[in-house]
Symmetry: C2
Subunit: 308 residues, 2 copies
């Protein structure tokens, strides 16, 4: 059987400080959050690297949410570690440390069995590596990619610009869309990025929701109203996992399905931020997801207005 | 006939600098924007003050959108003038000057005919004056109020806290909701403000839409996606005018009508920001409003998702 959904990204240990608590060396990384979220809809295959300090309890989490461990390289050394502190408003955050460790020399090796996935997600890693992965993949129907300010502002801008025409979809946040286009208004930035390549662009605005641009269509979606945001870490990758998992399961990439998938991603992300690290996300049940959807509909359904 | 909708606020001349242009001494002020927007649904009555420099061309604008000029005081001196410059992202702005002029000694006088309005909007003026207006009004079914950081942070905080239990609805932006409650998350701030008095709270988030809190109900609404934002001045007052105009015309203040009214206000505000000052708003036709609503529905309608 062909791989359904392939994700290439990071697996990490995160140290997270928030105004209300702290987590040390919690299992994280873009590919981890993505896989857990996607696994509610399909079983993703993972390409990533960890160090020899990656214990069986962590391995179990990845095994539970992915097809197999063929794409997980275990390299001599320590797993990628990141530490960050959220500001009181939970929107901004400062990076306390970044220890790339085994990630520094990571060259993604895509196992033969993963080379023709139905869909592919290039989580945030060096755009040069994202390009190499894309070169290795023989055939796929939908390629989405995430990136970050570090790459856009730095020496990898050209690599990103080279990657964009090969993507079906770019998923970034509003700050990144500004850095990429120079346009502060996401409604202008989205179409500008489409002109750089991808037919579909999703601009995430954290607690303010997102804007989906697909061909000439614009879709504005609020976030789930939440009073108990505990830790925003991984929300973007969780969104991407729900989004990609849903369209992969549907096997359809039309505008209606993409819109629906942004709702699914939004719901998944709402669970992610309600706990430290992956804790709330892994505990989420299908019944809870349905209940959250029902609540979201209640909070966003517009009554008809009478302009007679 | 009783007054339907009474607004007390400012009439001003605004000097506006944006990244793309400049307007000098353009007719503005909270009561002006409010009245123009509200007049699409009911004819509001206005209580405000202008100076002897307020020309017939400006008077005509107010006359056209309000019941009569009984509440417009013409005082010796110059009309209130404000100047501001928007930052390149159009979100932040700096005040260049504030000349209160005749507004400095303004004491709102509510004509006898206006003392039992169906609904009342206290636009952003000194909370002590807002309280005096409320004292003068004999009977009304729905009172909404706007305020700003200047009053919340300054010596009028107590006056605002005294006013809140007398309001049906407070309409403020996210920054102001934080100043009032100390809570950075609007989803927490909204209910906290409800506990201070008003049954209904609307927290505006500019281009990110708004959150309506009504009793236990939460309604999240995106803004109209706009690529051509020319001048955000007056958008909040225009929103309030559309909102209050709609519920006054409906004569209903239940949750469903309030939700609908936030959509109407959002649509009206989308016209306001597409021109300098009031120019685009006054030119708006009912057909254009319907067309904008149709576009908004296209941009925000959620497809069903399949979580089976």
């Amino acid at each position: 059987m062909n791989t359904e959904l392939l994700v290439v990204g990071s697996v990490a240990f995160d140290t997270i400080h928030t105004p209300t608590g702290k987590a040390d060396d919690a299992l994280g990384g873009s590919a981890t959050y993505f896989s857990i979220a996607a696994s509610h809809f399909v079983t993703p295959s993972l390409v990533a690297v960890v160090g020899t300090d990656f214990g069986p309890e962590h391995m179990n989490v990845l095994e539970k949410h992915t097809t197999d461990m063929k794409g997980l390289e275990i390299a001599e050394g320590e797993t990628f570690r990141w530490g960050g502190r959220y500001l009181p408003d939970m929107a901004g955050r400062e990076t306390l440390f970044t220890h790339l460790n085994v990630f520094e020399s990571f060259v993604p090796k895509v196992p033969e069995e993963y080379c023709s996935p139905k869909t592919l997600f290039l989580a945030n890693i060096d755009p040069v590596l994202q390009t190499q992965v894309l070169d290795h993949v023989k055939q796929t129907e939908f390629v989405a990619c995430d990136t970050m300010n570090f790459w856009i502002e730095g020496p990898r801008r050209e690599a990103i610009l080279g990657l964009l025409p090969r993507l079906s979809c770019l998923i970034i946040n509003d700050e990144e869309s500004m850095l990429l286009t120079g346009l502060t208004n996401p409604i202008e930035a989205g179409p500008a990025i489409q002109k750089m390549g991808p037919n579909t662009v999703i601009i995430k605005k954290g607690p303010h929701g997102l804007i989906l641009f697909h061909e000439d269509d614009i879709f504005a979606l609020p976030a789930v109203p939440l009073s108990n945001v505990v830790d925003p870490t991984g929300a973007g990758d969780t969104f991407a996992g729900g989004f990609m998992g849903y369209i992969t399961a549907k096997g359809s990439f039309d505008g209606e399905t993409l819109r629906a998938a942004t709702i699914v991603g939004t719901l998944m992300a709402s669970f992610c931020v309600q706990g430290f690290g992956i804790e709330r996300l892994v505990a989420m049940t299908p019944a809870e997801l349905k209940e959250q959807y029902s609540r979201f509909l209640t909070c966003t359904t517009q009554p008809e207005i009478d302009l007679a």
